[in-house]
Amino acid sequence: MKNLKNKYFINGKNFSCELKEPYLEDLIEIFLNKSILKEPKIAVAVNNQMIERCKWKKKKINFQDKIEIVAPFFGG
């Protein structure tokens, strides 16, 4: 049987993964390949809306949602 992965759009690129229950926190951890606890200085927006860190666990993600994961960077 063909294994169908779910498609998301993270930081401007397609990202596929298997998630039975697509919640934001799980998706971020798969994307980062580590626990979110190890990345305390990131912030996330879904479809151009900032999602507070405390809501990641319960935030359900739909296919093709546009997700932005950002962090501080060099800037003037």
Binding site: N11, G12, L32, N33, E39, K41, I42, A43, V44, A45, N48, Q49, M50, E52, R53, E68, I69, V70, A71, P72, F73, F74, G75, G76
Partner: protein
Amino acid sequence: MKSDYLVIDGKKFNSRLIMGTSLYPNLDVMNKSLKISETQIITVAIRRLNLSSKGFFLDQLNKDYYFLPNTAGCFTQKEAILTAELARETLQTNWIKLELISDKEMLLPDPIELFDTCKSLVKKNFRVFVYCSDDPILCKRLEDLGCEIVMPLVSPIGSGLGVRNEHNLEIIRRICSGKIFVDAGIGKPSDASRIMEMGFDGVLLNSSVARSLDPVNMANAMKLAVISGRLGYKSGIIERRNMASESTSFKGKISNF
């Protein structure tokens, strides 16, 4: 000069120089430049997480600073507000350096979009450090909106052209009673000193240090220029006159012959 603190958002700062963190040749030079400048506030951008980069930006800084996140690269109110919200979430600060530009070539601020965005950000309890054009009325209106610091440019970002419209800056300083910094366009230490002599509260710069041949020494020079200009301003600069005014009295001079 005793207790000439800069107070921002209820916090006292000794330094009146805010430094950017971009464009340095390497991390070591950036860290040394920031250290020697004695800056206490540095600007940072908010960008997509780069999984291939070696280390996390904040972990590569040698010292604790207050962070002033910016909205660099934003063209619209929606982009700027989302960036500000993401900055607040990641850095746990209400401070935001609002940059809202109208084009990629000159990077000039879009005053109309900027004004509306400032209004929204102030309502959302951000402390807005607004990068704007050197229009005195716009600066006054932004101050009246409740911006924490109004920061007019002296010339386009990264141009190094220095002060292009001193008269406007004089008017801005005269009509704005709050904190006014100058942001963008500084080329050399004398530009920074000149601005501080005019009574501005501080200077924000990046390119003039990071792109110089010796950023560490230039950072030191900028620090000294800001201190020098501030000391001059606080000491009461003499009025300009069109005619000479003797410094040595004629009294007691031997007779003319």
